[in-house]
Amino acid sequence: MKYIYVYPEKCTGCRECSIACSLAKFGECNPKKAAITIVRDEFNRYEFPIICYQCEDPVCLKFCHQNAYKIKDGVVIRDEDKCIGCRLCATLCPYNAVTTIDDEIIKCDLCDGDPKCVKYCSTGAIQYLDETEELEKRRKKMAERFLEIKN
């Protein structure tokens, strides 16, 4: 299964990801109306992408009184017709990954397997990866670093 992975150390703060998301979903360029948000503070020196991790046991789904959420092929999807806009999911999400603005509730749906945020990122700070391959890659890297230190 492929998921979105974020690497804050590679994020430059430019927000092309958010702008692409808002353009694809709403036809406008607006980093605040997107499923991905870059929290950035150049004075305190950080850039940090926030996006839904598609939890296996998602709080948004569990607590939705209207049963507006469902999991389809590993992706947590909100049914707009069932949703009453109470914003409880946004309040409860442990990662603050559900955006609410202008009466819209915006949650990442992985763009049907072609996430725009990934496509428009210029540094690889947001990647769409197979979870097994990604884990193997990171474990291998860790092992190599471990051997390097040992030597």
């Binding site: 430059t12 703060g13 353009l23 360029c29 004075f43 020196r45 202008d102 210029s122 540094t123």
Partner: protein
């Protein structure tokens, strides 16, 4: 639709009016620098004092600013310059301009003078003039942090102590180091009792054809990312140019007494101080260094002008001076040029301790740092230095011989323009004085670029030799026009055709991007005409202030002193050849032989509404 608002703020009357720029005017100038220059010409009466309430200060976002278009972060700040007395205009990146668009505004025109220290708060379609007593006297980073504490996640453009104290080369700052640096526009803020503009917006920019924009930008992004220059700029930033210029022997050193300096300021040395490379809004190049000494930078300009030009070799010290300028809100280009000028004047005995209060010499970091603080507070000798090039009147006519400035604006480019003739013509004719970002055909520096490539961009008959005067009017003419257009679209010059690369965003790309954003159909010729119109209206502003052929000149040293070191040894600018080049430039511009915009053209542009 592209229907952002125009906010007109009269600080004297404490009044805000919200208007709209007509679509017909936008089609003639687009936005950013273009519309700013139009409004300056329209709203400023000739001959006024730049520090008087009659001066008009404009913050204008580019036509495409804040969109998905790569590197569309930019805005222009414009007013009559207190440093030069002619057109003052400066282009800036960061996050302020995009936020202004998201707050519903394309442009703010600020008139008059507030009774007390004030700031402007723009929040989703609303503009308020607010009391800034608590923010006055505070450095640029702190004031931005305090405003965020008080107002939430705002983006701020502000002046520092230098602006408050009317230092003629004070900049407008946003973020850690982004600056509308040139022409003393921070001092215009100070003269209006305006400390800052804080903006916050949640509205999007509606795009006419979203799918088409997604597709066009995807292709453009691949095209730009695949270029070698993009990855170099993204990893080391502008310092890469230091070594290029230095090897050639074209780094302004010790007020251009020398033309080469230490390898300790090469990009690989600067890289050691970089914590992370970051970007402006929508940027895919990310050339900004977050340095380990608490700030951002240095850019090539800081390395050259606060390093080589002051005789300083230690990169850590150059970075510290860079950070000090940013905190105080001083323009780095003018600071480095003015300091090196007085250092040489002191060495040559043109000025003495009666004026300077202490001994001046090159290579003294502590002295340079002390003087920067004194300038920002207008203390002692700093009060004199704060007058920038106007000091020719105080120091005497002889001092002018050593001043590296054109039309009263100290040269921004650390590049010594005696070798590459197109660079020399560029700084001589630029609408704001000695500045490289108006028309520098950077490609001239790449000596191995095939003749065909240059001819394809600039037109026929361009020799591959940068020291030749032949046809160089064409390279400057082309660059002047296209840079004016990119400045009006709000896109960074780093991805502009002909700035750093023979490829990138040309008129054809611009045409596509404009179409998907607004639905407007324009062709390449229309776009070139926008550039020509901007250059002409800026020239009209300057003509009205008395600028003519006599002012399109160069520092005396560029004519009379051959360069002493490296490849460029022996080169200088030949007065006769330069004069002929200038005549040819006026001719393709359609100006009179005295460098004036012709009457019929003036009439045509004045009639635009």
């Amino acid at each position: 639709m592209f229907n952002g608002k125009l906010g007109v703020i009269d600080l004297s009357k404490n009044k805000v009016t919200i208007k709209q720029t007509s679509e017909s005017l936008k089609k003639k100038f687009f936005g950013g620098r273009g519309l700013n220059s139009y409004y300056l010409y329209k709203l400023i009466k000739p001959g006024i004092d730049s520090f008087s309430p009659e001066n008009v200060l404009i913050f204008g976002t580019g036509f495409l600013t804040g969109t998905l278009v790569p590197n569309s972060s930019r805005f222009n700040v414009s007013a009559k310059s207190p440093e030069t007395g002619i057109l003052g205009d400066s282009n800036c990146g960061g996050y302020f301009a995009a936020e202004l668009r998201y707050a519903g505004f394309e442009r703010l025109i600020i008139k008059g003078k507030a009774k007390n220290p004030s700031y402007i708060y723009v929040n989703d379609n609303k503009i308020e003039i607010k009391d800034a007593n608590d923010y006055w006297g505070i450095d640029t980073t702190d004031v931005q942090q305090f405003l965020r504490k008080d107002l939430g996640q705002v983006e701020v453009a502000c002046c520092g102590l230098a602006g408050e104290n009317l230092v003629r080369f004070a900049c407008v700052r946003t973020g850690v180091k982004n600056a509308a640096g040139r022409c003393g526009l921070g001092a215009v803020m100070g003269s209006k009792n305006l400390k800052a503009i804080a903006v916050r917006g949640t509205q999007g920019i509606k795009i006419k054809y979203p799918e088409e924009m997604l597709e066009t930008v995807e292709h453009l992004k691949d095209y730009i990312m695949n270029s070698k220059i993009t990855s170099i700029l993204g990893s080391v930033g502008t310092p890469l140019l230091y070594e290029v210029s230095n090897t050639l022997g074209a780094i302004r050193t010790k007020n251009s007494q020398l033309n080469a300096w230490s390898v300790t300021l090469n990009a690989e040395e600067i890289e050691k101080f970089v914590e992370k490379m970051i970007g402006c809004s929508s940027c895919i190049v990310h050339c900004r260094h977050r340095n380990m000494l608490g700030g951002e930078g240095p850019e090539y300009t800081a390395l050259g002008l606060l390093g080589a030009n002051l005789g300083i070799k230690d990169p850590a010290k150059v970075i510290e001076l860079n950070n000090v300028c940013n905190e105080l809100g001083l323009d780095i280009s003018s600071s480095g040029t003015i300091l090196s000028w007085v250092f040489e004047l002191y060495e040559k005995g043109v000025i003495d301790k009666k004026i300077t209060e202490e001994e001046l010499h090159f290579g003294d970091f502590e002295l340079a740092k002390r003087l920067l603080y004194k300038i920002s507070r207008r203390e002692g000798f700093g009060n004199i230095l704060a007058e920038s090039t106007k000091n020719v009147a105080r120091f005497g006519e002889k001092s002018k011989n050593y001043l590296i400035a054109v039309k009263g604006l100290p040269q921004s480019d650390p590049h010594d323009c005696r070798y590459i003739k197109a660079f020399a013509l560029g700084i001589a004719t630029s609408s704001r004085g000695a500045d490289h970002l108006r028309s520098r055909p950077t490609l001239e520096i790449f000596l191995k670029l095939p003749k065909e490539v240059k001819e394809k961009i600039y037109g026929e008959g361009i020799p591959n030799d940068p020291t030749s005067y032949i046809a160089k009017e064409k390279t400057v003419y082309f660059s002047d026009n296209i840079f004016a257009v990119i400045d009006s679209l709000g896109i960074c010059k780093f991805i502009c055709h002909g700035f750093n690369s023979p490829h990138f965003v040309d008129y054809t790309w611009m045409k596509k991007l404009i179409h998907c954003a607004s639905g407007w159909t324009v062709n390449e010729k229309d776009l070139e005409n926008v550039g020509k119109r901007i250059i002409d209206i800026e020239r009209m502003f300057n003509n009205r202030e008395g600028v003519s052929r006599k002012d399109d000149s160069l520092p005396k040293r560029y004519f009379d002193d051959p360069m002493p070191l490296n490849l460029s040894k022996g080169h200088h600018i030949d007065r006769k050849e330069f004069d002929k080049l200038l005549t040819r430039y006026y001719k393709i511009r359609g100006w009179t032989n005295d460098g004036l915009v012709k009457k019929e053209r003036v009439k045509e542009l004045e009639a635009l509404a």
